[in-house]
């Protein structure tokens, strides 16, 4: 039918008015697209660094209890088939790296000073510390993708493969103990049978990671397993090629094991992400509400101006519902056109900002340049609500167009 064509062509009858009406939506959505792209880029970097700071895309344990209270008390959660599962996952094309880890609580002492540490043991080749001088250029991590990035190495280095009983201490813990690379500290931990084990560890490096470097310390996996006398790994980490690949890899895992995705485990990231999403939704809602009133006002004027047209359409046989549909569709097109222009402008400005190097972001004293993310999500997340707002804004004016009889409409000047 001609209804769609008529609604579309009506947009261009008063081009200047259409543009002025849509200016609020265009400017608002342009800003929102840029802000959403900036936050999106930051959150993507945050997500990737969260995944690669000790979580992984997937974690596999013997039972779900491990994820509640087994990380530093692994004795009850040994994964008997760990080797088989690792072998199977290594063949999965979606998997980038798969490796076991363990953890335990220990008291570290040096001279008269002691601190409590949460020890994590990863294979040496799966641990990475950013050099102190290294500054990533953007929110996307530049660290190797097949290992965990556990912090910034401020002194010393990670022990080489085969070097046992080495420890990487956090900066705060090292300061409390007065330790430096080469220092020897004594670790004491409780064993499964209830006994105590003590051993000297040489500090190979000192790392910095805000909020973590007082309590977390790292050693290689073999040392940790030997020290705690564990027979089997309590957990396996999987680093997939990307987020989508993680789901595919999880689907191919054997039954009878407990699996958690990064999303289940990265609770802080999920909270921050949800907060930002909510914040963006509030901004979007305000923009759309303002647009709703502006569009409703314009549609009211349009309906009043075209009364004779509605009368003519009804006289020649158009049903009330079709006239209402025509008005609502025009509003819908108006909202959609505004959204398309706003999003296009937002993408255009984002492109120019990215070409100029991105927007600045300072974290841990590092000045990063954040590239603005231009995603399809920005399109539908703004386009669909704008179209709906356009339709809503024109519904009441549309009812006005059909409330009068055709002769009453035709009498309007």
């Amino acid at each position: 039918m001609k209804t769609v064509a008529m609604a579309w062509r009506n947009l261009f009858r008063q081009k200047r008015r259409t543009l002025i009406t849509l200016s609020a939506l265009i400017i608002g959505l342009c800003g929102l697209v840029i802000f959403q792209g900036y936050i999106g880029s930051l959150m993507r970097g945050f997500r990737d660094s969260t995944i690669r700071s000790g979580i992984g895309h997937l974690q596999i344990a013997a039972s779900s209890g491990y994820f509640e209270d087994g990380e530093f008390n692994p004795f009850a959660f040994q994964l008997k088939d760990a080797e088989t599962i690792i072998e199977g996952l290594e063949k999965d094309p979606e998997v980038q790296a798969v490796f076991p880890s363990t953890g335990f609580t220990a008291v570290a002492g040096m001279g008269e000073k002691s601190v409590t540490l949460l020890m994590k043991g990863y294979p040496a080749e799966r641990m990475y510390f950013t050099p102190a001088a290294g500054t990533p250029a953007s929110g996307t991590p530049t660290a190797p993708q097949d290992r965990f990035t556990l912090g910034t190495m401020t002194a010393g280095a990670l022990a080489g493969a085969g070097q046992r009983d080495r420890i990487v201490l956090g900066e705060t813990a090292a300061r409390i103990l007065g330790a430096a690379p080469g220092s020897v500290i004594t670790l004491m931990a409780v064993l499964p049978e209830g006994g105590l084990n003590g051993r000297d560890f040489t500090v190979s490096g000192i790392y910095k990671a805000p909020g973590r470097d007082k309590i977390f310390a790292f050693t290689d996996y073999d040392t940790a397993m030997d020290f705690t006398r564990l027979a089997a790994a309590p957990v396996i980490h999987v680093l997939a090629k990307d987020i989508q690949a993680a789901g595919a890899a999880a689907a191919r895992l054997p039954h009878g094991v407990a699996v958690r995705t990064w999303h289940d485990l990265a609770t802080y990231f999920v909270q921050v992400n949800t907060m930002f999403a909510g914040f963006l939704n509030v901004i979007r809602a305000i923009i759309l509400l303002v647009t709703l009133f502006i569009l409703a006002n314009t549609m009211n004027r349009i309906v009043r101006e075209r009364m004779r047209e509605w009368g003519t359409l009804r006289a020649v046989g158009t049903k009330k519902s079709t006239v209402l549909f025509l008005v609502v569709l025009e509003g819908c097109f108006l909202g959609t056109a505004g959204a398309v222009l706003g999003i296009a402008l937002g993408f255009g400005v984002s492109f120019l900002i990215n070409q100029a190097g991105g927007l600045p972001f300072v974290t841990d004293g590092q000045r990063l340049a954040i590239k603005i993310l231009m995603s399809g999500q920005s399109v539908w997340l703004n386009l669909i609500p704008a179209a709906v707002v356009g339709a809503l804004a024109s519904f009441l004016p549309g009812l006005r167009a059909v409330r009068l009889t055709p002769s009453e409409c035709l009498r309007q000047v």
Partner: protein, 228 residues
């Protein structure tokens, strides 16, 4: 049998909380194929009577029966369909849809009738040829003269093969020469298509195109007879 039968019709409009009568006790029958002119000064009730006959307004009391259907009994959707299939309208200000081309304006009533595309296009082309606008199919109505617009309006009114064509002051917005040519065209269409033509005017020169003249005064039919 009458195509239109109007009995004891009253129509009043509410203005400033008082009812102002526009039609008072109107009774009239119009036969199929007739060419009727409603004459009278402004405010005499011509347009109101045309609106009631055209089912675009409803009487305050009395009955309006068109083609055997009592218009009071039809719901809005049925009434729309009834108008689309039974009537064609020609307005004083042409009332073409500005976002549709000449072709599309004429085609519109056929789209509502769901006439197949091939037949639809053939009928529109044929009718536009007959009104002398074959060259203007793709033009916007805004780029046409007043006379050309009224020709498009006539084509739109006739394209659905209606039994009744209603024209409210069809020449009022046109100069004398153009007005005459439009009336000649309407008469020709009335004779060839056989559709009943009812038009209103206050111009005696235009009324001579009718076979029957109904004179109205103050909302009443003052005189009803054959044209001289």
């Amino acid at each position: 049998m009458s195509l239109i039968s109007i009995r004891n019709v009253q129509k009043s409009y509410r203005l400033d909380k008082t009812d102002t009568p526009a039609l008072i006790d109107v009774n009239i029958d119009i036969l199929a194929g007739e060419r009727v002119c409603l004459m009278g000064p402004s405010g005499s009730g011509k347009s109101t009577l045309l609106n009631l006959i055209g089912c675009i307004d409803s009487p305050s009391s009395g009955s309006v029966v068109v083609n055997g259907a009592d218009t009071r009994t039809l719901g809005d959707a049925r009434l729309s369909e009834f108008r689309n299939r039974t009537m064609g309208f020609i307005f004083q200000s042409f009332n073409l849809i500005p976002v549709l081309s000449v072709f599309e304006n004429v085609e519109y009533p056929l789209l509502l009738q769901k006439v197949p595309a091939r037949e639809r296009k053939a009928r529109v082309r044929s009718l536009l040829e007959r009104v002398g606008l074959a060259e203007y199919l793709g033009r916007s109505p805004e780029n046409l003269s007043g006379g050309q617009r009224q020709r498009v309006s006539i084509a739109r009114a006739l394209v659905g093969k209606p039994q009744l064509v209603i024209a409210d002051e069809p020449t009022a917005s046109l100069d004398h020469v153009t007005g005459n040519s439009i009336m000649q065209l309407m008469v020709e269409m009335n004779e060839t298509e056989g559709a009943t033509l009812i038009f209103s005017t206050h111009d005696p020169a235009v009324s001579c195109y009718a076979k029957r003249i109904v004179r109205m005064t103050d909302g009443r039919i003052a005189e009803d007879g054959s044209a001289a």
